[in-house]
C-alpha cells in the first residue's frame, strides 16, 4: 500500500505540531495515558497521551489502527492530535472543548466497494471527564469536522491497477466531507 508511505511524513508533521503546542510548558506538568474503549470494542487498539500545558489547556495525541477486525477486510491507521480548553479551571476533569485533527491511511472493502487512500481532518470536539480518583478518569467525548480525502475507489472485482497499463495507479476520488473527528469513551490514567 503505497499511500502508507505518506503516513510517516504526516506523522512527523503532526507530532511536531503537537510538541510545538506543548512547548509552552516550562516545568513538569501532568501527563496522562489514555485509551478509547469504544475503539477496543471495534477491535481497533487505541493509545494516547495527554499533556497538561496550562491552568486551562492541554494537548493530546492518539494513535489507533486495525487490520481485518471481526473478519472484515480493512486496514486502518490514524493519528489524532488535539488541543483542549478546560472550562472549570483544572485540566483532565469536567467539561472541555477542543480542536481535533486527524490523519488517516486506510484500505477497506465496504459493500463490494474498495476504498483505499489517505484522509486528513480538522474539527471541533468536546467532552466531559468524570474523576474516578486522583489518577483515574473516564472521558466521554465527541467531535465533528471536515475530512479531506484522496483515495482509490473501485468495485471489488475490478482490476484497478490494470487500467494504468503498467504505470503507477493514481487516485480517482478526492473530496471533502463532514465527518466525525472523534467519538470516544476514554479511560485516562495520570502518570504524573
Amino acid at each position: 500500500m503505497k499511500h502508507f508511505r505518506t503516513l510517516p511524513a504526516l506523522s512527523v508533521v503532526i507530532v511536531s505540531l503537537w510538541l510545538f503546542l506543548g512547548s509552552g510548558v516550562a516545568s513538569a506538568q501532568q501527563i496522562a495515558v489514555k485509551t478509547n474503549l469504544l475503539s477496543w470494542a471495534a477491535m481497533t487498539p487505541d493509545i494516547g497521551l495527554e499533556l497538561v500545558t496550562g491552568e486551562n489547556t492541554s494537548v493530546g495525541f492518539s494513535v489507533f489502527g486495525h487490520k481485518n477486525p471481526y473478519g472484515l477486510k480493512s486496514k486502518l491507521v490514524v493519528v489524532q492530535p488535539e488541543f483542549r480548553y478546560w472550562f472549570n479551571g483544572r485540566p483532565l476533569i469536567r467539561e472541555y472543548i477542543g480542536i481535533a485533527a486527524f490523519a488517516a491511511s486506510y484500505d477497506m472493502t465496504i459493500s463490494s466497494h474498495v476504498y483505499s487512500g489517505n484522509a486528513i481532518g480538522l474539527g471541533f470536539s468536546g467532552g466531559y471527564v468524570f474523576s474516578l480518583g486522583p489518577r483515574l478518569g473516564l472521558e466521554l467525548s465527541a467531535g465533528t469536522g471536515i475530512a479531506v480525502f484522496r483515495q482509490k475507489q473501485y468495485w471489488v472485482d475490478d482490476n484497478y491497477d490494470a487500467y494504468f497499463f503498467g504505470k503507477t495507479s493514481t487516485v480517482n476520488s478526492k473530496g471533502y466531507k463532514l465527518f466525525p473527528v472523534k467519538a470516544a469513551v476514554t479511560l485516562i490514567y495520570i502518570i504524573r
Binding site: 513538569a28 501532568q30 472549570n88 479551571g89 483544572r90 476533569i93 469536567r94 474523576s131 486522583p134 504524573r192
Partner: protein, 777 residues
C-alpha cells in the same frame, strides 16, 4: 580461605556487638510539616531516648491507651530515660544505635511519634503539631444563623465553640475547598495580632484529587494540604462525614486558645471562605470577643498555706567557715631628734601606738575564741635631712624600738607560728620634690630635682645643696615630717560560730551589716532567719541571702523558700524566686549528688514544689501550675492543692472533686454545684449563705440567670414579667451591686448573667424606685 572468612565474620559480629554497646550522639532538626516545615521551638516537646525499639513501642502503646481512655492531666510513665528538648528546633541526645526516640507532648491532647535510630547519627524528624484540630469538627447540622457559644474560661485556656450555617443550600461542592482561619487579636490595641490559629480546611473529593494532581502527587507542596488531610483524618476517626459536598450546610468549631493572662481582653475574628478551581465564590467574617466569659471557679473559696522546709536538716543548715581578716594601720610617730625615743609631747602618736598594741593584745587574748594572728609587717621611713649613715642607723634603732613594743605582747609560741617583718629606710630628696610638686610648688620641686640630678647616688651632697636653697626653712623643713611614716600591716583569721544573738546584735548595731550590697556569711543569714521578725526586714534578708548563696555558688533553697512562704502569706506571687530549685525532669524529693563537690542534696523538695505551684496559681499561670502539681513523687498530703489546681486550671471537676470541695465551705457548695450543673443542689445551698456577703446575692442572681439560660431563655425581657424568679434575680443583683460596686465589673464580663439583665440592673441601681414599682418581691 575458609578460615579467613570465619575470622572476618567474627570480627564483623564483634564490631557490631561493640557498636551496639556504646551510646552514640544522635542529632537533627525537628520540623512541623503542617507549618511550612518550620523548626519546632516549643519546649514542651520532649524527645526521649530508649535503649531498644521494643521498649519505645511499649511506652508508646501505653501512652496511646492512656489517651484513648480519656486521659486527664499528664502522662508520667515514660520510665527511666534520657531525654532532651529541642533548642530552636535542633536536638541532641545520647542513645544506643539500636535504640529509638519517642517524640511526645506529655499531655492528653497530642499524638506521639516513634523514630528508630538504626545506627544513624543524624535524624531529621517531621512532627505534626496540629493538635488543636482534634477539637474542630465540621458537620452537616442545619441551623439558621451563626451561633457563637459563650467563651468558657478554663485556667489559661479560653474554650470557644460555635456553629456557622451557610446562608444558601448546596453552597459547598465536591470541587470546592472550605477554609476557616481565625486569629487572636489584642482587644485594646486592635492592631496587634497575638496568634494565628491552625485553620480548618476541608476539601471536596474532586478538589482533593485534582489538587494532588496539581502538586505532582506531593501534597506537602500545597500549604493547606496538611491541614486538609488532618481535618479528614480527625473527622474519620470521630466517625463524622469527612468529605465536603453539597449536603454540607453548616460548620461547627471548637477550640482552646491559650493566653498567659486569661483575663486579657482579646478579639477572635474568623474569616471563612469557599473556593472552587477558579475563584473564591463565598466568604464571610465573624467576630468574637472575650468581654463576657463563663468562669465557673470565679468565686471558689480556698486557702493554700505556705509550706516550709525543715531548716534543721544538714542540707539546709549553714555553718561558719574559716575567715581571714586583713588590717592595715598607718601610724604617725614623732621621735626625739637623733633618738629612738618617742617625743613625749606627741600624744597622737602615743595614742595610735597604744591602740595598735591593744588590738594585737586582744587578738592574742582571744585566741581561744578563734582569733589567730598570722602575719605582722612593719615598715618605717625616715626623712633625708642629715647624714645618710646616721639616718640609717637611727631608722634601724627606731624600728627596733617599735618591734620591741609590738613583739613584747606577742607570746613566743605565736611569734614562731606567724610571719613577721620589720623594715626601715631613709626617704630620698626626690620624694621631697614630689611633696612640693603635689603642693603646686613646681619651680621649687624642679630645683630639688636638678640638685638630685647633679649629685646622683650621693644623698649627703644632695642634702648639702638642698639645705643651701633659700626656701629650705620656709618650704622644705615644714614638709619633712610628712616623710616620717610607720606602716603596720597584720592579718588574722577568725574561726568561730557566733550565736544567733551575737549575730543579731551585730546586725542591729553594725551599719555595715545592712548596708546595700553587704554580703554576709551564709551561716549568719541562717541564724538571722530565726530571730528577725519584721516581715519587710525578713524578706529583704531572704533576698540578700539568695544573692549571697548565688555569688558563692551554693545551691541553697532555704532562703528562697522562706521568701516564697512570706509572699504567699501576704497573698503575693513571684514565680522567679523558686524557679531555680524546681527541675521538672526529675522527681519530687529526688536524692542527688553534685559530682563536682560530692555534696548530696534533695532535688525538688516537696515544700518548694508546692510553694511554686501556689505562686503559679497566684500569678494565673494555671497551666504551669498543673504541670508542676503532677510531677512524679509529690506526696499525697498535697491532694487538696492538686484538686484546687485542677479546678482553677480548667479541668472539668469529677464527682470526687465536687464532693471534696463542696464540703469545704457553704459558698463552695453553691459554686461547685453550679459548675457541675447540679442546679437543684445549688438552689438549696444558696439558702445557707451569709446574707450580709455581697457575693451571696451575686451568686443568687447568677443562679437564676443561669437557670433561665438553661431553660432556653436568652433574653431577660423574654421572661415572664410576673414570674417570681425574674423579680428575685433583679433584686439580688441590685443588692449585690449596692453592697459591693466592684461586682458591676464582674457582672459585665460574666456570661452566666444575661446581658440585657445586667443592663437593666444598672438602670434599677440608678433608680431603685423601678425595683419597687415593677418588680414585686
Amino acid at each position: 580461605m575458609r578460615y579467613l572468612k570465619i575470622i572476618l565474620l567474627l570480627l564483623l559480629l564483634s564490631s557490631l556487638y561493640v557498636y551496639g554497646q556504646d551510646r552514640m550522639l544522635v542529632f537533627g532538626m525537628v520540623r512541623n510539616p503542617v507549618d511550612d516545615n518550620k523548626p519546632i521551638t516549643d519546649t514542651e516537646l520532649r524527645i526521649i531516648g530508649y535503649n531498644t525499639v521494643a521498649e519505645a513501642q511499649d511506652v508508646k502503646a501505653k501512652f496511646e491507651a492512656w489517651q484513648k481512655a480519656g486521659a486527664e492531666g499528664f502522662f508520667q510513665d515514660f520510665g527511666l530515660i534520657i531525654e532532651t528538648t529541642p533548642d530552636l528546633g535542633y536536638y541532641e541526645i545520647q542513645v544506643y544505635p539500636n535504640g529509638a526516640l519517642l517524640l511526645v507532648y506529655p499531655s492528653a491532647e497530642v499524638q506521639c511519634k516513634l523514630v528508630p535510630v538504626n545506627g544513624k547519627n543524624e535524624i531529621n524528624i517531621s512532627f505534626d503539631l496540629s493538635r488543636t484540630l482534634d477539637e474542630s469538627i465540621v458537620s452537616a447540622e442545619i441551623d439558621a444563623r451563626p451561633v457563637i457559644e459563650d467563651i468558657d474560661v478554663g485556667g489559661n485556656y479560653l474554650r470557644l465553640s460555635g456553629t456557622y450555617p451557610f446562608p444558601e443550600k448546596r453552597l459547598a461542592k465536591k470541587n470546592s475547598r472550605f477554609v476557616m482561619q481565625y486569629f487572636v487579636v489584642d482587644g485594646e490595641k486592635r492592631t496587634d495580632t497575638l496568634e494565628f490559629r491552625v485553620p480548618i480546611v476541608l476539601d471536596g473529593d474532586e478538589y482533593h484529587a485534582t489538587q494532588l494532581r496539581r502538586m505532582a502527587y506531593k501534597g506537602e507542596r500545597d500549604p493547606m494540604f496538611g491541614y486538609a488531610d488532618s481535618t479528614r483524618e480527625r473527622l474519620k476517626a470521630l466517625g463524622k462525614k469527612y468529605i465536603l459536598d453539597e449536603s454540607f450546610s453548616s460548620v461547627t468549631w471548637r477550640d482552646s486558645i491559650y493566653l498567659d493572662d486569661p483575663d486579657k481582653f482579646v478579639l477572635i475574628p474568623k474569616k471563612l471562605w469557599l473556593e472552587d478551581y477558579n475563584r473564591v465564590y463565598f466568604s464571610d467574617t465573624l467576630y468574637e470577643d472575650t468581654k463576657r466569659k463563663i468562669n465557673r471557679m470565679r468565686f471558689l473559696e480556698y486557702s493554700l498555706e505556705a509550706n516550709n522546709l525543715d531548716a534543721s536538716l544538714p542540707e539546709y543548715r549553714r555553718r561558719a567557715t574559716r575567715t581571714k581578716v586583713d588590717d592595715v594601720r598607718d601610724l604617725s610617730l614623732n621621735f626625739l631628734p637623733s633618738s629612738a625615743k618617742l617625743d613625749p609631747s606627741d600624744t597622737l602618736g602615743a595614742k595610735q601606738l597604744a591602740g595598735l598594741r591593744n588590738d594585737i593584745n586582744n587578738l592574742i587574748r582571744n585566741e581561744s575564741e578563734g582569733y589567730t594572728l598570722k602575719t605582722l609587717f612593719v615598715s618605717g621611713v625616715a626623712s633625708p635631712e642629715g647624714s645618710l649613715d646616721k639616718n640609717n642607723v637611727l631608722a634601724r634603732q627606731r624600728m627596733s624600738f617599735l618591734s620591741d613594743q609590738l613583739l613584747s605582747i606577742i607570746p613566743r609560741a605565736r611569734q614562731e607560728r606567724m610571719v613577721k617583718n620589720f623594715s626601715s629606710r631613709v626617704a630620698g630628696w626626690e620624694e621631697v620634690a614630689d611633696l612640693l610638686w603635689a603642693d603646686s610648688l613646681k619651680a621649687e620641686a624642679g630645683k630639688i630635682r636638678d640638685i638630685v640630678a647633679r649629685h646622683p647616688g650621693r644623698p649627703d651632697a644632695q642634702g648639702a645643696a638642698v639645705r643651701a636653697l633659700p626656701f629650705y626653712k620656709t618650704l622644705i623643713a615644714e614638709r619633712l615630717p610628712k616623710l616620717r611614716t610607720v606602716k603596720v600591716e597584720y592579718t588574722y583569721e577568725v574561726y568561730r560560730e557566733l550565736t544567733p544573738e551575737e549575730i543579731y546584735y551585730r546586725y542591729k548595731n553594725d551599719p555595715s551589716y545592712t548596708a546595700p550590697g553587704t554580703v554576709l556569711p551564709l551561716y549568719e543569714y541562717y541564724a538571722l532567719f530565726q530571730v528577725v521578725k519584721d516581715t519587710e526586714e525578713f524578706e529583704a534578708l531572704c533576698r540578700s541571702a539568695i544573692n549571697a548563696a548565688e555569688k558563692s555558688g551554693d545551691r541553697w533553697p532555704l532562703p528562697a523558700n522562706l521568701l516564697a512562704s512570706s509572699l504567699i502569706s501576704r497573698g503575693e506571687a513571684d514565680t522567679t524566686i523558686l524557679a531555680p530549685f524546681v527541675e521538672e525532669k526529675k522527681m519530687v524529693n529526688q536524692p542527688w549528688t553534685d559530682f563536682k563537690t560530692g555534696r548530696k542534696y534533695t532535688v525538688n523538695p516537696d515544700a518548694v514544689v508546692a510553694n511554686q505551684v501556689i505562686m503559679m496559681l497566684g500569678a494565673k499561670k494555671f497551666k504551669r501550675a498543673r504541670q508542676l502539681v503532677y510531677m512524679k513523687g509529690l506526696p499525697t498530703k498535697y491532694e487538696y492543692l492538686k484538686t484546687i489546681t485542677d479546678c482553677l486550671a480548667g479541668k472539668k471537676p469529677d464527682q470526687h472533686t465536687y464532693e471534696v470541695l463542696s464540703n469545704t465551705s457553704p459558698r463552695n457548695k453553691v459554686v461547685m454545684a453550679m459548675a457541675m450543673g447540679y442546679m437543684p443542689r445549688a438552689r438549696k445551698s444558696l439558702d445557707e449563705l451569709d446574707e450580709s456577703d455581697p457575693i451571696t446575692h451575686y451568686l443568687k442572681a447568677q443562679y437564676f440567670s443561669l437557670d433561665a439560660k438553661m431553660r432556653g431563655m436568652n433574653k431577660y425581657v423574654n421572661m415572664d414579667m410576673f414570674s417570681p424568679e425574674r423579680s428575685k434575680m433583679m433584686h439580688e443583683l441590685v443588692k449585690a451591686f449596692q453592697l459591693d460596686p466592684s461586682l458591676k465589673n464582674v457582672a459585665a464580663g460574666d456570661a452566666w448573667i444575661l446581658e440585657d439583665f445586667y443592663e437593666e440592673s444598672l438602670k434599677v441601681l440608678e433608680d431603685p424606685s423601678l425595683l419597687e414599682l415593677e418588680y414585686c418581691y
